[in-house]
């Protein structure tokens, strides 16, 4: 495998990691606010807080990793995306900033505040929507390039069915992933009222998630037929994703083996996400940039890969420790520690 492929695979993996952990986090903020508003706040609050508090900072790092890695392996992408994304990127930054700080203000400050909860609940749904613009742009057709000038075509973006389908998918899958994780966590905590509420959320959001995926598929055929064709060549991956989905929903429905059901949810998104990514290659920004035209120099690529391996050797045990203490420690989950 050449450096370019290793690079993009590493990055894609970080983005996948972000997709999962951030979805849990974003969705939790929304459920937290929604249930507080409907008078069921105390039911889910404890479960959500026990999981989220120690890990919220870690979530942010996945995004930064992806971004820094992208700039590192493919510096000329910084030029194209950087210029085009000034406005949507800045809005995403502002939302992330509000969310992160108000999460902390709410939890470590000395007072409960519905307004703070609203801020981090609402931003949790807007962030995936604004970040998904990057994926939309990568399909081409929204950026005008002439010489050294790069411009984002807002009219095109806001009237595109494909763009809206992606936004829709981003939001509903956040809620679905989050609810299915929290269902598992509430079950583990032995909190039956939280469990039954969250289970309802999970089942409710599973329908729109699959609907949105199909919508993205169909609209991509209109928007970028080349890419759609390559996706058809890998259709087995998407079929597999559908199977994982069916399995996960079945288990949640039957209230059985909820740990396995969450793993199936992860596999469902992994299959679709890697299928989408692999069929996107070799383009990173269709049709201007491929992984081969934008790649950094070989010395830096090797250095980055080495740093990545060294970093993983440090991170994996640390993450394991974090999970041991807060996710897989039954006494902690049940609130005894």
């Amino acid at each position: 495998m050449d450096y370019e492929l290793i690079g993009i695979t590493v990055l894609w993996t970080f983005l996948y990691g972000y997709l999962i952990v951030a979805s849990i986090d974003f969705g939790a903020g929304f459920f937290n606010y929604y249930s507080a508003l409907t008078g069921r706040g105390p039911i889910v609050k404890k479960v959500i807080n026990r999981y989220l508090s120690p890990v919220w900072e870690v979530t942010n790092v996945f995004l930064i990793f992806f971004y820094i890695g992208l700039v590192g392996f493919f510096p000329s992408l910084a030029f194209y995306y950087g210029t085009a994304l000034l406005v949507p990127g800045s809005i995403a930054i502002i939302l992330i900033a509000l969310r992160g700080s108000y999460y902390a203000f709410h939890h470590y400050g000395n007072r409960e505040s519905l307004w703070y909860q609203f801020l981090y609940g609402a931003t949790g749904l807007l962030i995936p929507a604004s970040l998904s613009v990057v994926l939309t742009l990568s399909e081409g057709g929204f950026i005008d390039v002439s010489g050294d000038e790069v411009q984002l075509n807002y009219a095109e973006l806001f009237t595109s069915t494909y763009a809206w389908a992606v936004v829709f998918l981003a939001i509903v899958s956040v809620l679905y992933i989050s609810a299915s994780f929290l269902t598992f966590y509430a079950h583990k905590a032995g909190d039956s009222s939280a469990f039954s509420l969250l289970r309802k959320y999970a089942l409710f959001w599973s329908g729109p998630t699959i609907l949105a995926s199909l919508l993205v598929f169909v609209s991509l055929r209109e928007h970028n037929p080349d890419h759609f064709q390559r996706m058809l060549d890998m259709s087995w991956l998407f079929g597999l994703s559908l199977l994982f989905f069916a399995g996960a929903v079945y288990l949640i429905w039957k209230k059985k083996r909820l740990g396995v059901s969450f793993i199936l949810v992860m596999l469902q998104f992994a299959a679709a996400f890697y299928g989408y990514g692999a069929s996107h290659l070799p383009y990173v920004l269709y049709p201007y940039v491929t992984i081969y035209t934008s790649f950094t120099n070989d010395t830096m690529a090797l250095a980055l890969i080495l740093a990545f391996i060294a970093g993983l050797m440090l991170l994996v045990p640390s993450l394991y420790l974090l999970m041991r203490l807060f996710l897989f420690d039954n006494d902690y989950v049940k609130g005894k520690k």
């Binding site: 508090s53 120690p54 919220w56 900072e57 870690v58 942010n60 790092v61 995004l63 990793f65 971004y67 820094i68 890695g69 700039v71 590192g72 392996f73 510096p75 000329s76 910084a78 030029f79 194209y80 995306y81 950087g82 210029t83 994304l85 000034l86 406005v87 990127g89 800045s90 995403a92 930054i93 502002i94 992330i96 900033a97 509000l98 992160g100 700080s101 999460y103 902390a104 203000f105 470590y108 400050g109 000395n110 007072r111 050294d148 950094t296 120099n297 010395t299 830096m300 250095a303 980055l304 740093a307 990545f308 970093g311 640390s318 993450l319 420790l321 974090l322 203490l325 807060f326 520690k337």
Partner: protein, 443 residues
């Protein structure tokens, strides 16, 4: 206000984000060290006051960390949004330290999460203290890596440029450029100093407000001792930084000192103003001091600004930033020295009101010195974004919306600053140390 110019607005927005982020990142680097020291002393002396101190410091720290994290995310993304041309070129050489910085931060974030949620989970207190080592290490390492990026922009090394294309890249050489050692030592030492001053200022303020518990005195003594040690090391490293500048970036030092003509036995200029003919007025001159600062001997020759084409001069306003930084640094060293002497001499009272008020002033002043120092170093390398290779104007975005984004971010930082201050105030006011001491059954 100004005519729309994406370069100018990009500079203002970047400056604003960094100035705001610096407040929180400086505390982010420095405070874990003080928390660790408090816990360590608590274990060694078996004194629960220090444990409570660590706990309360950590409680405030997490609020500042949150703002530090989100503004850090902002500056990371803004690098590409506002300086896409620069990142396209420099991304080839600086992505390694950026990548490593993220690893260090990741490491810190994991263990900080564990530390904050395991106060009473381990039977042996020492295990809890050990968790702070990766936190402090991660904070220090991320400070180190990100500083190497800034050092690289000041002293680019480890590549050759052929027709705008980078060749022969050596990432390690780029990281360990001549600016790195002094810069990173100065950044770390001043971050410890500033954090210690801020915590000392809080303790001093509480004592002035009539809090008599020995807890506050212990907090004050610990943080002032750290402040004293770090004030000395910061000054020593600052002197080395001057020698680095004389050797590698003489135009920055010359601009800071309004030193126009190359001369031997050069004198250091304190304060003063500059008239339109670039004549210095009302300044205090210290003979030979600039030669000593630059080269270590009173008769050494110091390069003047006239050796450089005028369009490559840094803005001469950097002199004021430089003076402010050095002046405050000296003041901090003096206050902490007086405190140490009075504490050591049994018959004098180090808790007299004048000294306490001076200590209160060191908190905000130290932060001001950090800002002044960064403004000096960043403005001092203008007009370059990559000294000698790329001007700031060449690196900026061409987008038409930077002004609107600037206003949005001004609003964001204002909201964050006000909320963070309100939350911190409320947290400690609603739960004073006395009440917590009582609740934990301490005297």
């Amino acid at each position: 206000m100004f005519e729309y110019d994406p370069v100018l607005y990009s500079r203002i927005l970047t400056g604003l984000t960094l100035a705001f982020h610096t407040i929180f990142s400086t505390l982010g680097v420095g405070v874990p060290l003080l928390i660790a020291l408090a816990e360590w002393i608590g274990i060694r002396r078996n004194d629960d006051h220090y444990h409570l101190l660590a706990r309360r410091w950590a409680r405030g720290y997490i609020i500042t960390v949150a703002v530090g994290v989100v503004t850090g995310t902002a500056i990371a993304l803004q690098l590409s949004l506002l300086w896409p041309n620069f990142m396209q070129v420099a991304g080839q050489t600086i992505s390694l330290p950026l990548f490593l910085e993220t690893f260090a931060f990741f490491f810190e974030a994991i263990f900080l999460g564990i530390y904050l949620y395991t106060w009473d989970r381990f039977k042996k207190k020492i295990y809890h203290l050990l968790l702070l080592i990766p936190v402090a290490l991660g904070a220090t390492l991320s400070g180190f890596f990100i500083t190497t990026v800034n050092a690289f922009m000041n002293a680019p090394l480890g590549f050759t440029m052929e027709n705008g294309v980078l060749k022969g890249v050596n990432p390690l050489l780029a990281m360990f450029n001549p600016a790195t050692p002094t810069k990173m030592a100065h950044v770390l030492s001043s971050a410890y100093l500033t954090s210690a001053c801020v915590l000392a200022a809080i303790a001093a303020f509480m004592i002035l407000r009539g809090r008599e518990h020995v807890y506050y005195k212990k907090a004050l003594r610990l943080s002032m001792t750290v402040a004293f040690v770090c004030a000395i090391s910061t000054a020593v490293i600052g002197d080395l930084s001057g020698k680095y500048l004389a050797e590698y970036q003489p135009e920055k030092l010359a601009a800071a000192e309004w030193h126009f003509e190359t001369a031997e036995e050069a004198s250091l200029i304190l304060g003063g103003i500059l008239d339109e003919n670039n004549e210095v007025k009302y300044a205090l001159e210290i003979p030979y001091a600039l030669s000593i600062l630059a080269h270590g001997t009173p008769d050494a020759e110091v390069t003047g600004l006239e050796e450089f084409p005028e369009e490559e001069w840094p803005p001469l306003v950097v002199h004021y930033f430089f003076d402010l930084m050095v002046g405050i640094g000296m003041f901090l060293a003096l206050v902490s020295f007086v405190f140490m002497v009075m504490k050591w001499r049994k018959k004098s009272n180090e808790l007299n009101r004048v000294l306490l008020w001076l200590i209160v002033s060191t908190g905000p002043l130290a932060m001001l010195a950090i800002e002044a120092g960064w403004f000096f170093t960043e403005e001092g390398r203008q007009p370059w974004i990559l000294r000698g290779y790329m001007t700031t104007a060449e690196g900026a975005t061409t987008s038409g919306y930077v002004d609107i984004m600037l206003y949005l971010f001004i609003a964001l930082y204002a909201v964050l600053a006000v909320s963070a201050a309100a939350v911190l105030r409320r947290t400690f006011k609603a739960n004073p140390a006395e009440r917590e001491l009582e609740k934990l059954g301490m005297k």
